[in-house]
Symmetry: C2
Subunit: 329 residues, 2 copies
DNA sequence: TTGAAAGCGCTAACAA
DNA sequence: TTGTTAGCGCTTTCAA
């Protein structure tokens, strides 16, 4: 077995050209005649040559690796394993990165060590980092040391961000429920530390106030169990609830279970609108009507921005959140 | 802003020692006196020094990066976005890698380009690759060029693998259903190209034959829609079915929806046992009784093996698959 | 259009 | 215990 991997010099020798020429050819930069180009390509193919990413990064000084930084706040909630949201982030990221010849590095940050590790991260930073589920504080700290950052959640004004219209989405959800004739629209909120959750809550409270409906809410912690518990409590305290706005599908899946467990039917007795359009929405029974975030699109755009250069300070783009009607409302 | 990142030489200069000494200190290898060690550490901390991963890799020749290779066979099914299984793989991988000071690179392979890219991958290989959802052919091709591989699914005899006892799990599921008094146990199978799916099917057919039950099955393609359609068809063709063994939770979630849509109740009229214990199992309504794969454990062990060296040819370890009782059976 | 040469930041012999 | 010296495989001026 030829354990030794061919280098650029092997290719150069085989093609009878210089190292620089080979470099030009494989990088598709001008400065090599067509005949030479083919000669080099053939030699490279025959040798089974593939450039070393490490050497390339070292020599050029600019790595083609994008980091996805995900912070875990709830240790027992797990991480990507727990929230289907990340699956969609990854799904959007991969094709965008491959198109740009880049790779993805996944960095999971425990909440405890987050502050410490964040500084190390900033220095080790590569093409850039995509921030998911980060607090404004942590994000700011990171941004101070590394400007090649895009956040997928609202953080501070300076940090470039691609945001979903969480507030508007929540309003739309409530409006939809109202249009269906529901007048006791309760809410299951996400954690107060999560900026997306805060915006969704704001949107909900805004909407019910304008509609002259009572604001009834309970925290659900963005997990299924929390959604289940919150819905059960809500129903126990306010038996006349006829609809629920649940701030994420995972919680909504739990809410549906809690509601049907009381003998009520979804959507007949209690209508539900979730948020995210994650896999939890389609797995729930009945399948959830939900507010769809263009997560893949946002993640892909974030990757592209990073690959294109350093995002401008304060850059902002908001993505619409759309109502997807299924069977729960 | 000090855009220039300090190098090992800066640290050496600041600490008044040589570059090698700094290298020894930061790599925790013997050959540096305690006083020098602290001096170097202080200097490094003050400068905010962090070693360049690229340079390190290049110089040492052994990268500390593990690749997760996932092949997409169904283009429209998406990828990690679609199957919650990958979330669990990632969840298991991250802590194990961090413990070993390694990073994760995620490689998504489209089925079309898979064969071509697989050769490139082998050469670009790093500490090693973890194979998920790969066909035996592709895996063999990869293994021929790079021995630092561990598969999480059954492939060929030579390729080191950590496998779940899919066959045994399927048998257990059927036995459970039988013990519950069910006698018309249908099955929704996964794709014939997937080795896990094949094993689960074998286990099912094995079990029903031994129990003297009829084998009734339909393909569901490992996706929710497929599970829904398969269950609906099964029920239409065999109205007396009183249980279903569904080869993955995603399909099972769809099956539950299809069953309840016919007016039947789960588990009263039709009991269901899924497979995987993914998030789809808990989001379904009622929550699914399922066969739990120790995915996180398997992924973590795979990472550890790779970090420890090249796995032995033909290495095999089988993980038990356990029944998790929830409400569907 | 091509080649020569100088590093990128680090590790790993080898000397001292 | 410490320092010196070569590279690792590539990109990138700068000349030719």
């Amino acid at each position: 077995m030829g354990e030794v991997r061919p280098t650029i010099d092997d290719v150069a020798r085989a093609a009878g050209v210089s190292r620089s020429t080979v470099s030009r050819v494989i990088n598709d930069v001008p400065g090599a005649s067509p005949p030479v180009r083919t000669r080099v390509r053939v030699a490279a193919a025959e040798l089974g040559y593939h450039p070393s990413q490490a050497a390339r990064t070292l020599a050029s000084g600019r790595p083609r690796t994008v980091d996805l930084v995900a912070v875990t706040y709830d240790t027992d909630t797990g991480w990507l394993g727990a929230h289907p949201y990340y699956s969609r982030v990854l799904a959007g990221l991969m094709p965008a990165l491959e198109g740009g010849g880049a790779q993805l590095r996944v960095l999971a940050l425990g909440a405890e060590a987050a502050a410490e590790r964040i500084d190390a991260l900033a220095d080790d930073a590569t093409t850039g980092m995509i921030l998911a589920n980060i607090t404004p504080e942590l994000a700011a700290r990171l941004y101070r040391r590394c400007p090649r950052i895009v956040s997928l959640v609202p953080t501070t004004a300076a940090i470039p961000a691609l945001e979903a219209d969480n507030t508007g989405g929540a309003r739309t959800a409530v409006a939809h429920l109202h249009a269906l004739g529901r007048r006791r629209v309760a809410a299951v909120h996400g954690p107060g530390t999560n900026t997306c959750a805060i915006d969704r809550r704001t949107g909900y409270e805004d909407a019910v106030r304008r509609l002259g409906l009572p604001a009834i809410g309970a925290p659900g912690g963005f997990c299924r169990e929390g959604g289940h518990a919150a819905a059960a409590r809500l129903l126990a305290d306010h038996p006349d609830i006829d609809a629920m706005f649940v701030a994420c599908d995972l919680m909504a899946a739990g809410a549906v279970q809690a509601i049907t467990a009381t003998g009520r039917r979804v959507p007949d007795d209690v209508a539900i609108v979730g948020f995210d359009d994650s896999i939890a929405a389609t797995c729930a029974n009945p399948p959830l009507t939900t507010m769809r975030l263009p997560v893949e699109q946002m993640a892909a755009e974030a990757a592209r921005m990073l690959l294109d250069g350093t995002p401008a300070r304060g850059y902002r783009r908001t993505y619409p959140v759309e109502l997807v009607c299924r069977e729960s409302a």
